[in-house]
C-alpha cells in the first residue's frame, strides 16, 4: 500500500482540523496579544497607541524581574522535585502485585483531582490555627509555621502542593518508560555482577532519558502556567510573594484593567517559555549517549 496521497490537498485536509484549532486558540490570540501590547486599553474606552511603554513600565517598575525570578524559583522546585520523586516512585513501585497496584493508584489519584479541590484541601490542612498540620505541630510542642502567611515560605508551600499533585503523573510516565527497558539486558548485567546502582546508572537511566526530557518539559510548562493553585490558596499574596507569571497577567487584566500591560506580559511569558523549553531540550539532547558496555 502506497503512503503517497492520491490528491495534493489530502495532507492539508488531514492537518486542517488541528491547524484551525491551533490557529484559532493559540496563534491568533498570541498575534492579537502582541498587537495589543502596544496600546493602553481597558476594554471599555478606545485603545490608545503607546509604543513600547507597556514593556518599558514592566521593566522599570521591576515587575518583570520580580515575577520572572519568582516563577523561575517555583518552577525549579516543581520540576526537580516532581522529576526526582516521580522517578523514585516509579522505580520503587515497578513491581507486580495488588499492593503495588494500589499504591500506584493512590499516588496517581492526586493528579486526577481538580486544582481547585487540591487548593481547598491544602488550605484546610495548612490553616495556621485550625489546620491538621498546625494541630499536629502544636501537639508535638513545636511552633506551627505559617505556610501560607509567611512571604518567605509561601512560594515553596505552593510548589510543594504542586509537586504533591503532579508527581503521580511523572511516576506513570516513568513507569511506561521502564516497561521499555529490556529485562534481558538487566538480567545479563546482573549476571555480570552489576549492582542495582550500576544497573540504574548504566542502563536504566540512559534509556529513560527521553522520558525524563518529556516529563521535565511538561512539568516546566505546567509550572509556568500555574494559576488555579495561586488563585485559590493565596491570591498572589501575602505581599505579592506568590504572584507568579500567569497570576500577574490575570491581575493586570482583571484587577488593574490594563489589557496592554497584560498583553506585554503575555508576550514576554511566551518568549521566555519557548526559550526555556528550547534550552531544556538542548540540554537533554546534548547529554552523552548511553554506554553500551558495562
Amino acid at each position: 500500500m502506497s503512503l503517497r496521497p492520491t490528491k495534493a490537498f489530502h495532507p492539508y485536509a488531514m492537518l486542517a482540523p488541528t491547524l484551525v484549532l491551533l490557529g484559532l486558540f493559540s496563534i491568533v490570540p498570541l498575534g492579537v496579544a502582541f498587537h495589543r501590547s502596544f496600546f493602553a486599553w481597558d476594554l471599555l474606552t478606545p485603545a490608545e497607541p503607546v509604543g513600547f511603554d507597556n514593556y518599558r513600565f514592566l521593566w522599570s517598575s521591576g515587575e518583570l524581574l520580580e515575577v520572572g525570578w519568582r516563577t523561575l524559583a517555583y518552577s525549579v522546585v516543581v520540576v526537580s522535585a516532581s522529576l526526582t520523586l516521580g522517578l523514585a516512585l516509579a522505580l520503587a513501585l515497578n513491581r507486580e502485585g495488588r499492593f503495588y497496584a494500589f499504591v500506584r493508584s493512590a499516588v496517581f489519584s492526586a493528579y486526577v483531582v481538580s486544582w481547585v479541590a487540591v487548593g481547598l484541601l491544602w488550605l484546610w490542612l495548612l490553616d495556621p490555627q485550625a489546620g491538621l498540620v498546625a494541630r499536629v505541630t502544636r501537639g508535638l510542642g513545636w511552633t506551627p509555621v505559617d505556610w501560607l502567611g509567611n512571604p518567605k515560605v509561601v512560594l515553596f508551600t505552593l510548589a510543594g502542593v504542586t509537586v504533591w499533585k503532579i508527581t503521580g503523573y511523572a511516576m506513570v510516565i516513568f513507569l511506561a518508560g521502564l516497561k521499555d527497558v529490556p529485562r534481558s539486558v538487566l538480567e545479563a548485567a546482573a549476571l555480570d555482577g552489576a549492582g542495582p546502582w550500576q544497573r540504574f546508572h548504566r542502563i536504566v537511566w540512559p534509556l529513560l532519558r527521553p522520558t525524563a526530557a518529556f516529563v521535565g518539559t511538561t512539568s516546566l510548562i505546567l509550572s509556568f502556567q500555574a494559576f488555579d493553585i495561586v488563585r485559590v490558596m493565596t491570591q498572589g499574596g501575602p505581599v505579592r510573594s506568590s504572584t507568579i507569571f500567569v497570576y500577574a497577567i490575570y491581575e493586570q487584566v482583571f484587577v488593574n484593567l490594563r489589557i496592554g500591560r497584560a498583553s506585554a506580559l503575555t508576550v514576554v511569558f511566551f518568549l521566555l517559555l519557548v526559550g526555556l523549553t528550547g534550552l531544556q531540550w538542548r540540554w537533554w539532547r546534548n547529554r552523552p549517549r548511553a554506554k553500551t558496555t558495562l
Binding site: L43, L44, L148, G149, Q235
Partner: protein
C-alpha cells in the same frame, strides 16, 4: 470527491463569518425577561432570591433571571468583559468607587426613568447625589440598594467578662485591643481588621484627611500616613492586631471566621454581616461605631444598581420595573432587617423605626446612626484605579513588612497620577 463537489473557499469563508457573527451577537431576551447579575453570597443571597421570588408572585409581566457572579470584583470583571462583547445583563450592581469610572466610559444607562416618586423616597446620604461630591451634577446612572458602612463588632460576652467598652478613640482602640487579647493555648487577638482600602479610608477620614483634595490625589497627606502607621503600630509594636491573610474578600472572610471562632475579641467589617455574625456566633455579638481621631468619619460602601447602555427599550423598562419594586419601602426595609445593610428608602427606614426594630436590634441601628458622619467619595473616574492599583496592593506590604508609610503613600500618589 471531484474539485467541483468541493465547497468553494468563498463559501467556507462566508460560513465561518456567519458562525462568528452568530456567536458574537447576543440574541434578544424574551419579552419581559430581566437578566440580573448579583454578587451576594450566603444569607444575603438567600434573602435576595426570596425577594425575587416574591416579585414573581406579585406580578407576571417581568421575569428576573438572577445569576451569581462571584464577589464584587469578580462580578465587575465579568461585567466589563460582557460589555465588551455585547452580552451585558439588564441589571447588575457595582461598588461605589467604580461608578464614576463606568460613567465616564459611557457604558451606563441613565436611570431617570425610575420615576420621581422612587427618587424622592431615597435616603439622601445613600443615593448617588449624597454618596459622591458633585454626584448631583452628574446624570443619574446608579441607584442604591445594598449600602453599608464599616462598623466594629465585638464579643460582648468577653467584653463583659473583662469589663471592656467599645473604643471611641484611636488610643482607646489600642487599649481595648491590648486588654482583649490573650496568649497561650487559647490565643486570641485583641483586634482584627482586613488591611483593606475601605477601612484605611475610614482611618484617613478620622485623622482629618481626604483621598482627593482640590482635585489632586493626596491620599490624605499626613492623615493617610497616620492611618497606615496606626495599623503598623498595632501589628508590630503592640502585637494586638491580626492582619488576616488573603486578598480582597478572602481577608474579610478570614476576619469573620476568626471572630466567630473566638480568635478575635473585636473586628472591623461591614454592617452587611450583622445578621450573619449574630446568627452564627456562640456568644453575644455587639456592634459599635468606629472610633474617631481628630473627628469621626466613615466612608459608605456596598453597591449600586446599574444598567448597561444600549439595551432595547422594552428590556430597559422591564429592568426599571424590577428596580422600582426592589427600592419600595417594604422591600428596602425587609432587605435591611434580614441582612444588616442600611434601608435605602426613607419610608422603609421609618417603618423600621416605628415598628421598634432598631430598639429590639440595636446592632442594626449602628450603621444607620453612623451615617451622620459618613463622608462623600469624590466623583473621580480615577477613584477605582487609585483604590485597586495604587493603594490596595501597597497596604498589605506596608503593614506586613513595616515599610515607611510616607514613602509607600508617596509612591501610591505617583501611581495614581498615571493614566
Amino acid at each position: 470527491m471531484s474539485p467541483s463537489e468541493a465547497p468553494s473557499r468563498r463559501a467556507f469563508a462566508l460560513g465561518l463569518a456567519a458562525l462568528f457573527a452568530s456567536a458574537c451577537d447576543r440574541p434578544p431576551r424574551p419579552s419581559g425577561e430581566v437578566a440580573f447579575w448579583f454578587s451576594y453570597g450566603g444569607n444575603n443571597r438567600k434573602v435576595l432570591l426570596e425577594l425575587i421570588e416574591r416579585f414573581h408572585q406579585e406580578q407576571s409581566r417581568v421575569h428576573v433571571v438572577a445569576t451569581f457572579q462571584g464577589d464584587y470584583f469578580e462580578g465587575l470583571i465579568k461585567l466589563r468583559t460582557a460589555l465588551f462583547v455585547g452580552a451585558a445583563p439588564t441589571i447588575t450592581h457595582v461598588v461605589g468607587e467604580v461608578v464614576p469610572y463606568l460613567a465616564q466610559a459611557g457604558v451606563l444607562q441613565q436611570l431617570d426613568g425610575i420615576g420621581a416618586e422612587s427618587l424622592a423616597d431615597l435616603e439622601p446620604a445613600l443615593a448617588q447625589a449624597g454618596t459622591f461630591e458633585g454626584g448631583e451634577n452628574e446624570p443619574l446612572v446608579a441607584l442604591p440598594f445594598n449600602r453599608s458602612t464599616p462598623i466594629a463588632f465585638y464579643n460582648r460576652t468577653l467584653f463583659d467578662e473583662l469589663g471592656l467598652r467599645p473604643p471611641t478613640t484611636w488610643d482607646g482602640l489600642r487599649d481595648v485591643a491590648r486588654r482583649g487579647g490573650s496568649t497561650g493555648t487559647a490565643a486570641r487577638w485583641g483586634f482584627e481588621c482586613p488591611v483593606d482600602w475601605w477601612f484605611w479610608t475610614a482611618l484617613v477620614g478620622q485623622a482629618g484627611g481626604r483621598i482627593i483634595e482640590n482635585g489632586k490625589v493626596t491620599l490624605g497627606g499626613t492623615a493617610g500616613v497616620r492611618a497606615l502607621e496606626l495599623w503598623q503600630t498595632m501589628v508590630h509594636d503592640d502585637r494586638t492586631m491580626r492582619s488576616p491573610p488573603g486578598r480582597d474578600f478572602n481577608a474579610w472572610e478570614a476576619t469573620n471566621g476568626d471572630f466567630l471562632a473566638g480568635r478575635a475579641a473585636m473586628i472591623w467589617t461591614s454592617t452587611a454581616f450583622v445578621r450573619y455574625l449574630e446568627e452564627h456566633a456562640s456568644f453575644s455579638v455587639g456592634a459599635a461605631a468606629l472610633p474617631g481621631d481628630v473627628r469621626r468619619a466613615v466612608p459608605t460602601g456596598g453597591t449600586f444598581f446599574v444598567m448597561p447602555k444600549g439595551l432595547p427599550e422594552s428590556e430597559q423598562a422591564a429592568g426599571l420595573t424590577f428596580l422600582r419594586w426592589m427600592m419600595q419601602p417594604k422591600q428596602a426595609s425587609e432587605w435591611a432587617r434580614r441582612t444588616g445593610y442600611m434601608p435605602v428608602s426613607k419610608a422603609g427606614r421609618r417603618e423600621l423605626e416605628d415598628s421598634g426594630f432598631f430598639r429590639e436590634h440595636p446592632n442594626f441601628a449602628v450603621a444607620v446612626d453612623q451615617l451622620s458622619v459618613a463622608e462623600r467619595w469624590p466623583w473621580a473616574p480615577s477613584l477605582f484605579r487609585i483604590q485597586r492599583e495604587a493603594v490596595q496592593p501597597r497596604l498589605e506590604a506596608a503593614v506586613a513588612a513595616r515599610l515607611d508609610a510616607r514613602t509607600v503613600l508617596a509612591a501610591a500618589c505617583a501611581q495614581s497620577e498615571e493614566r
